[in-house]
């Protein structure tokens, strides 16, 4: 069986498992779904690695036999293609879904007897498959179908704990807002189709038509682009369309949160890459718009994350912030590309993609560790959690690695990608230099926020002594998943060549040719020595900076004397030495309140109104659906529209 066949069979064969999973309950269902999803993930990883390494594409079409006289169904084939850009994203999907599936084996045990595991299984598998579908389809119509499937299944996962009012509300909100975004995409697609009355929406066709449209009526083209961008932006939780995310992501089971934050919000980014590099040429104003969205997003998201006291909510806000970096890189590259500065455009895109994969790694790891804490303690409140490192050393270590990665501490992976983004923005000068320094400032805010996240949960002593007596490390599958991702975080930080190779092969598809713009000429230090591995003195230095102290402690085992905590000579009971999460960085928040005021304006006025608007819209829709007369009228309108479209 060659890889093309596997690619061909992957979606239909895994769909077969859905009813089987739905049949079972409890443990069996858990094992089946995770077994299937692990297999699927491994296959996805193999496929994408193959594509990225060989530079070839996997391609197939499902032939659909329909009456060709109906123009709307005249796309004839359902085209799937795994090119290197898709492969890069499927690789991300594969890695994260592998980890979260392994993790899920243990984690879903929480819900035995409380919730329907089969229901989870169906949605979980469907979620992965639909994301895979979104990435591999080569047809806008199919894209939308998978997109909606993805939204639907993830919405059920968000409100999986059906007895929790909060979860139901979050799922509802998430669904409504996502639906609004999807409508925008659909409208844009319809406009494209209708204006051209050609009903083939294969990406290649779309691309060529788009370019034509740009030449002929740039206003309409830009409007379509705007609609698509906004539709995607809602799903990617760009500020000000982000308000649903901090509610939705924390409410899902933690391994699903990892997928949601690690992968799902990258789906629109994937489409944006295609949109701006394949379907259209980047223009300066689009570059400015996108990078501005990026900066506002990273600024607002991260500053809000700084003041969160719910562990998963904090992580969710950071997802917004980190997506901002990715979008900033995309926008910067767009501007630079339009200005003709291809080398820097390449570096910016490199940084954007590098950060994307890094974010997928460390954010899903962080969600998994937060999930482990929930698994053992049932708590997400940073005011109450404390001192878990003693009981869950492995979780603590992986959380530390992830925290340092997202904080951009060398030599972990977050540092490299952020560094590349800074280089491109700073060297570009102009408005991008401003954006770059905002990003630089925000990275220290991120660091501060993760000092809070890590230290409140894991260090110090337990808040209520004795309350954690039965606490122990999480079961093997969960820690395995964590260790896997942590190892990748370190690997991608130190052996930079591997991800860079993967990314360059993905970028080459977008028209920025690697051969032409070698890194060497821009002196990205660690690659300039040779292509084999890490030889840069910088990275040797970094590794020494981390390794030497650890070795010193582990091997030399310096003598220590033990003391009680110095609290002015009195014996203070352990639990009372409590520093709740909300007290961190109070002064900073007070002084930089202007930033928060601006953030609040964006966050609440724009964010909440857009949410409210969409909710209102759906309420109305609901009322219409409930009203038989309106329903009949609507059906008639739709039928008429279809008739008109089909061309009768």
């Amino acid at each position: 069986m060659d890889l093309n066949t596997i690619f061909y069979l992957l979606i239909p064969s895994s769909l077969i498992f859905l009813p089987i999973i739905a049949l079972f309950r409890g443990k069996t269902s858990n094992y089946i779904v995770h077994g299937v999803s692990i297999t699927v993930s491994i296959i996805i990883i193999i496929l994408s690695l193959y594509v990225l390494a060989s530079g070839s594409t996997l391609d197939f079409t499902y032939k659909i036999c329909l009456d060709y006289s109906y123009p709307i169904l005249s796309f004839k084939v359902i085209h799937f293609r795994l090119d290197s850009l898709s492969a890069f994203f499927t690789l991300v999907l594969g890695i994260v879904s592998l980890a979260s599936s392994i993790y899920g084996i243990g984690y879903i045990g929480r819900f035995y007897g409380r919730e329907h595991i089969g229901w989870y299984g169906v949605n979980y598998l469907l979620f992965i498959i639909s994301m895979y579908g979104v990435l591999t389809t080569y047809n806008l119509f199919i894209f939308i179908i998978f997109w909606e499937l993805m939204t639907l299944s993830s919405q059920f996962l968000v409100s999986y704990e059906k007895n929790k009012k909060q979860a139901l509300w979050a799922g509802y909100k998430y669904f409504c807002v996502s639906k609004l975004g999807a409508e925008m995409i659909i409208i844009a697609g319809l406009v494209l189709m209708i204006i051209y009355s050609g009903y083939n929406v294969d990406y290649e066709v779309v691309a060529s038509r788009f370019r034509e449209l740009f030449l002929r009526t740039p206003v309409i083209a830009n409007a379509v682009l705007m609609l698509l961008f906004m539709g995607l932006g809602i799903k990617a939780a760009l500020v000000p369309f982000h308000n649903w995310l901090p509610d939705a992501h924390p409410e899902a089971p933690s391994n699903v949160s990892a997928l949601l934050s690690g992968v799902m919000i990258k789906m629109p980014i994937y489409m944006m890459y295609r949109l701006f590099y394949q379907f259209s040429q980047p223009t300066i104003y689009w570059g400015v718009i996108i990078s501005s969205f990026g900066v506002v997003t990273l600024f607002t998201g991260t500053l809000y994350a700084l003041v969160q006291i719910d562990s998963k909510r904090l992580l969710a806000y950071h997802s917004i912030g980190q997506i901002g970096y990715v979008v900033l890189g995309l926008g910067a590259s767009g501007t630079l590309y339009a200005m003709g500065n291809y080398p820097l455009a390449f570096i910016a895109l490199l940084g954007s993609m590098y950060h994307l994969i890094n974010h997928a790694l460390f954010k899903s790891l962080l969600f998994l560790t937060a999930g482990s804490v929930v698994y053992r303690t049932g708590l997400r409140d940073l005011n109450k959690l404390s001192g878990l490192a003693k009981y869950m050393p492995l979780t603590a270590l992986t959380a530390l690695i992830a925290s340092l990665s997202i904080a951009g501490i060398p030599p972990f992976n977050g540092f490299v990608s952020k560094w590349i983004i800074y280089i491109s923005t700073f060297c570009a000068g102009g408005y991008l230099a401003f954006y770059g320094l905002f990003a630089l400032f925000i990275s220290s805010v991120t660091a501060a926020s993760f000092v809070k996240y890590f230290t409140t949960i894991f260090t110090r002593s337990p808040f209520e002594p004795g309350s954690y007596k039965k606490l122990e490390e999480v079961p093997f599958p969960m820690s395995l998943a964590q260790v896997m991702l942590a190892a990748l975080c370190i690997l991608f930080g130190i052996v930079v060549v591997i991800p860079l190779k993967l990314i360059t092969s993905a970028i080459s598809l977008l028209g920025l040719n690697i051969i032409q713009y070698q890194y060497i000429s821009f002196g990205i230090g660690f690659i300039e020595v040779n292509n084999i591995g890490v030889n840069s003195p910088l990275f040797i230095g970094f590794i020494l900076a981390i390794i030497l102290p650890i070795l010193y402690i582990l091997i030399a085992r310096p003598r220590y004397t033990s003391y009680g905590i110095w609290s002015c000579g009195t014996l203070v009971k352990e639990g009372l030495l409590h520093y709740p999460g909300r007290s961190y960085f109070r002064g900073f928040k007070e002084v930089f309140s202007e930033a928060y005021t601006v953030g609040k304006a964006v966050h609440e006025v724009l964010g909440v109104t857009s949410i409210n608007y969409s909710l209102k819209f759906f309420k109305k829709l609901q009322r219409i659906i409930e009203d038989p007369v309106a329903m009949i009228v609507l059906t008639l309108v739709v039928v008429l529209l279809i008739i008109w479209a089909v061309g009768w």
Binding site: C568, G569, T570, P580, R582, S583
Partner: protein
């Protein structure tokens, strides 16, 4: 003046039997039912303030306990002692704390030491004795020998923390060993980030048993030296207050020159104390150079004290009836010269230092104690004057040589730390003026009274204005050159409870300077403590051992 005093006597006659114990002290023997009325009348009615409560075991004399509340009437220059007789069969007295919150500690102290219960006290907990002190043992009762050893129970869980805040907010312990406190006291701050949301105070950790030692072991002329050691900074003012109390009882005619010398030394002590405080305040504000400057200037004052008395700090100058050393002309001239230079230097430096932005920024509007709160807690001295209360014992109850000098009392309305700095700053300059006036007019009389005879079982009240406020010593005399009851009350005793009001809603960074701003003298406040509160150990502590530790 005289007529208003007689009017006062008439007014007080409504509450009980009134008699003069000396020319400016009234005693009112009231019934327990009238106690609250008279307290309300004296503190809130005619503008006096509550000063101190004293418990006394007088069973050997009239088979009863007594509780004395002392009120000061500044505008009349009169102290009123309200005396309540408590029969040993029913040890209950109505509490005046609901009327005057400042009486809280005083009543709890009596509770601890004598077992007298105060009805309706809002917080009837132990104040001074440690929680593991055996029940029913009251160390200041006369049937408790000063060298008796008590068996201390092993430490158990004390409800240590304020349940409103503990667990919800971070506890920042300030003390007992903290760089911001140079004495062992304990402030527990509950903070949210950098903001203080609440505070708790635990004091009385300095292990001395001065009252008991003085009452049982020392003679009347030895106690001045003990009184001087109540405080390491303002010891002399305790010394003078004690001597005045005894002199008032005995009606001793202290020679004028002795009065002048006492006043001079009191003012020198005030200057050095305020300068020391300023230095510490600057240190807490992070301005160490200011600390060095003020302490360098203070050193000149210390040299003066050394020259005049033979020691930098413990002057050892007083005996009942006068002083032990004279100031001769050459010394007087030298003092004047030093003070002239000091004033020039000091004013110049302070003008510059008080112009520094950080100092002003960190003290203005910080630790505010408004007039109403200040009256409630009857705070004293510079703390009161910074809150707009015009009070000064030197002016309104003149003692020693203060009726012969002219000086003004700085009063500020804001009640913040800056006001307290400015009050002290101006007082330093006033003190230099006072010393110069006194030295110019030093009368030529002997320095020690000839005739000294102390009557038995009489109440005496001696008051001085210590650098921190009114310092009051209450004495009941005994035969054989002994004292029956001695209760010194340092000003910090009244000022410290007000700290909890000042600390609320302030920044953590300002906690040290707020605590320091009342110039708290913890050892003054705690002098009376008898027991070692170091918990967790089984030990027997005797007074003799403690006294050796404390006095040696």
């Amino acid at each position: 003046m005289q007529s208003s005093a007689t009017k006062l006597v008439e007014e007080l006659g409504r509450f009980g039997i009134v008699e003069w114990i000396d020319s400016h002290t009234l005693i009112v023997h009231v019934d327990r039912s009238k106690l609250r009325d008279i307290a309300k009348y004296l503190h809130w009615g005619i503008g006096g303030y509550f000063s101190v409560s004293i418990g006394s075991d007088e069973r050997p004399l009239d088979n009863s306990f007594h509780v004395y509340h002392v009120f000061s009437l500044d505008h009349l220059g009169v102290y009123v002692v309200v005396d309540i007789r408590v029969s040993p069969g029913y040890l209950h007295v109505p509490s005046i704390t609901p009327i005057i919150p400042g009486a809280n500690w005083h009543e709890r102290e009596v509770m601890d030491y004598f077992g007298i219960m105060f009805d309706d006290h809002p917080e009837p907990k132990r104040l001074i004795l440690p929680y593991n002190w055996p029940k029913g043992v009251y160390p200041l009762r006369k049937d408790y020998p000063y060298n008796k050893k008590v068996y201390i129970e092993e430490a158990s869980d004390e409800p240590e923390h304020d349940s409103r805040f503990a667990g919800k907010y971070t506890i920042i312990p300030i003390g007992p060993y903290h760089p911001a406190l140079h004495e062992p006291e304990y402030f527990e701050l509950y903070v949210d980030g950098e903001r203080i949301v609440g505070a708790r105070y635990k004091g009385f950790m300095v292990h001395r048993g001065m009252e008991k030692i003085a009452e049982s072991r020392m003679t009347i002329n030895q106690i001045p030296f003990l009184a001087e050691r109540i405080c390491g900074i303002c010891g002399y003012t305790h010394n003078v207050a004690y001597c005045q109390a005894v002199e008032n009882v005995a009606g001793i005619d202290v020679p004028e020159r002795a009065h002048y010398i006492r006043s001079i030394m009191l003012e020198i002590e005030r200057i050095h104390s305020h300068m020391l405080w300023l230095g510490i305040a600057f240190h807490f504000l992070g301005f160490d150079t200011g600390f060095m400057i003020t302490w360098r200037l203070r050193e000149k004052v210390m040299d003066l004290a050394e020259m005049l008395t033979g020691n930098r700090k413990t002057y050892g100058l007083n005996l009942i009836g006068g002083v032990r050393r004279d100031i001769d002309l050459s010394k007087a001239l030298k003092v004047k010269k030093v003070l002239r230079d000091l004033r020039k230097d000091y004013v110049d430096y302070m003008e510059k230092i008080l112009g520094l932005k950080e100092i002003i920024y960190r003290t203005r509007g910080v630790g505010v104690l408004d007039y109403g709160e200040a009256r409630k807690y009857s705070v004293l001295g510079p703390t009161a004057r910074a809150s707009g209360i015009d009070t000064d014992v030197r002016k309104y109850h003149p003692y020693a040589a203060y009726r012969h000098v002219d000086f003004k009392i700085p009063v500020y309305k804001d009640g913040d730390v800056l006001s307290r700095i400015l009050v002290r700053h101006e007082e330093i300059i006033e003190s230099i003026n006072i010393i110069e006036q006194l030295l110019d007019n030093l009368p030529r009389t002997p320095i020690m009274a000839e005739e000294i005879h102390v009557p038995e079982h009489r109440i005496g009240v001696g008051v001085t204005e210590a650098p921190r406020g009114e310092d009051i010593h209450f004495v009941i005399t005994s035969r054989d050159n002994k004292i029956y009851r001695w209760r010194p009350r340092a000003p910090s005793y009244n000022n410290i409870p007000a700290l909890l009001v000042m600390l609320k809603d302030q920044h953590l960074a300002d906690a040290p300077i707020i605590i320091a701003s009342i110039d708290p003298c913890f050892s003054c406040t705690d002098h009376v403590l008898i027991i070692d509160v170091r918990t967790g150990s089984r030990k027997q502590v005797g007074l003799r051992e403690l006294s050796r530790r404390g006095l040696g």
